[in-house]
């Protein structure tokens, strides 16, 4: 092989450059970043439990919200009974955000991390005013 040293060096430089984003994020600790959503529960007596268990909400809150949306809008069914027997009004702005009153610290944390576009919700549904 002619100019083996130059070619191998070139390949090495290419590999380092191509993988540099991974090294960079490893070095600066960015890859270890995990979003840490905070729930700043408003004082809502008797509503200290979520509509569904935390594990379910973490993985499938979007499905629940879709179900709620369809059943309220299309079928007019506005009541939701949670597995532990509590009755809730199916409403993003009036039920979910009653407890999770801090959109920026709760919803946005993970949605930004995962690049989830939730503008489809918030361009119409009114987010609660956050006290700073």
């Amino acid at each position: 092989m002619y100019d083996a040293s130059k070619i191998i060096l070139g390949i090495l430089i290419f590999l380092v450059l191509a993988t540099s984003p991974f090294w960079y994020s490893k070095a600066t600790g960015q890859s270890d970043y995990l979003p840490d959503p905070v729930i700043l529960t408003k004082d809502t007596p008797g509503k200290d439990v979520c509509v569904m268990p935390t594990d379910y909400m973490r993985s499938s809150h979007m499905d629940l919200l879709n179900d709620w949306r369809n059943s309220v809008v299309r079928d007019g069914e506005r009541k939701f009974v949670s597995p532990n027997g509590h009755e809730y009004k199916k409403s993003l702005s009036n039920t979910c955000m009653d407890c999770h009153a801090n959109k920026t610290e709760f919803c946005d944390k993970c949605h930004n991390y995962m690049a989830v576009d939730d503008q489809t919700c918030w361009s119409c549904h009114v987010e609660p005013k956050e006290e700073l």
């Binding site: 809008v73 299309r74 007019g76 702005s93 361009s123 005013k129």
Partner: protein, 255 residues
């Protein structure tokens, strides 16, 4: 080549069994006859507007104010882009077929409250390509699903009453005081009166009916012979907007 006796008997037997099974399993159990349940009167919500009482308070727009406030209806301030759910219209514009030059002055010169007629045969529903507007079977309200509306505006063209308005721009900057309990709309969807479906679900009357200082709006189930609205329609002469179009509007105007 041909089938033998054994094969023919097997096929004939299986065919008989299948046919029998179908008739036995497929027959509907007693008491579930759809015609039977259909004979019970279904709820049908409607509104009567007492024009006499409404006239007494000329210039009153309390119904418009409260409706637009609780439903986050924007005030664009431009008649080409205006959005309204319930508003006042000149008699001639609201009732073009009933208008003539020699009409009593108090009718001719006064405005009437108009809103979505929640038609029994709504043309907006027929033309909607995404089924984002439909007539609710439980009470006849013509509903809208903003999530599904693609903003084609067929319904705006289809509605003979001008009850539907399109959001040509983001309405949020034009809402003076946002009611956090009700969503706003977004650019590119059509909106209209929903007979306060969200209030009805909580057992409340529509906001316009509640607020009217003259109690000129009467709301109720038209299929219930004992309801207030049925009683008043029985005792007083009523007209409807453009009934000749066959939409069967459910807003009745008491003359």
């Amino acid at each position: 080549m041909g089938i033998d006796r054994r094969k023919f008997l097997t096929i004939a037997g299986l065919t008989t069994l299948t046919t029998l099974g179908k008739t036995v399993l497929g027959s509907s159990p007693a008491g579930h006859d759809p015609i039977e349940t259909g004979s019970q009167a279904v709820k049908r919500l409607a509104m009567a507007i007492d024009m006499q009482k409404c006239r007494q308070n000329e210039g009153c727009v309390e119904c418009t104010k409260i409706c637009h406030k609780i439903h986050n209806v924007p005030d664009i301030g431009n008649s080409k882009e205006e959005i309204k759910w319930i508003w006042k219209e000149n008699f001639e514009a609201a009732f073009p077929n009933q208008h003539h030059d020699l009409l009593e002055d108090e009718i001719k010169n006064n405005q009437v409250v108009v809103l979505c007629n929640h038609c029994d045969d709504p043309p907006c529903v027929k033309v909607c390509p995404t089924q984002s507007t439909w007539k609710r079977e439980s009470d006849g309200i013509v509903m809208m699903d903003m999530h599904r509306c693609i903003g084609c505006r067929y319904c705006v063209a289809g509605c003979p009453y001008g009850s539907r308005n399109f959001n040509f721009r983001d309405p949020r900057p034009f809402i003076k005081e946002t009611n956090p309990e009700y969503p706003t709309r977004t650019k590119g969807v059509v909106e209209k009166c929903n007979f306060c479906a969200e209030r009805l679900a909580d057992g409340l009357l529509p906001a316009c009916v509640d607020i009217c200082p003259e109690k000129a709006l009467i709301f109720g189930n038209i299929n219930d012979p004992k309801s207030e609205i049925r009683q008043i329609l029985k005792s007083r002469h009523s007209i409807r907007r453009k009934p000749i179009l066959g939409t069967n509007p459910q807003i009745y105007y008491l003359v």
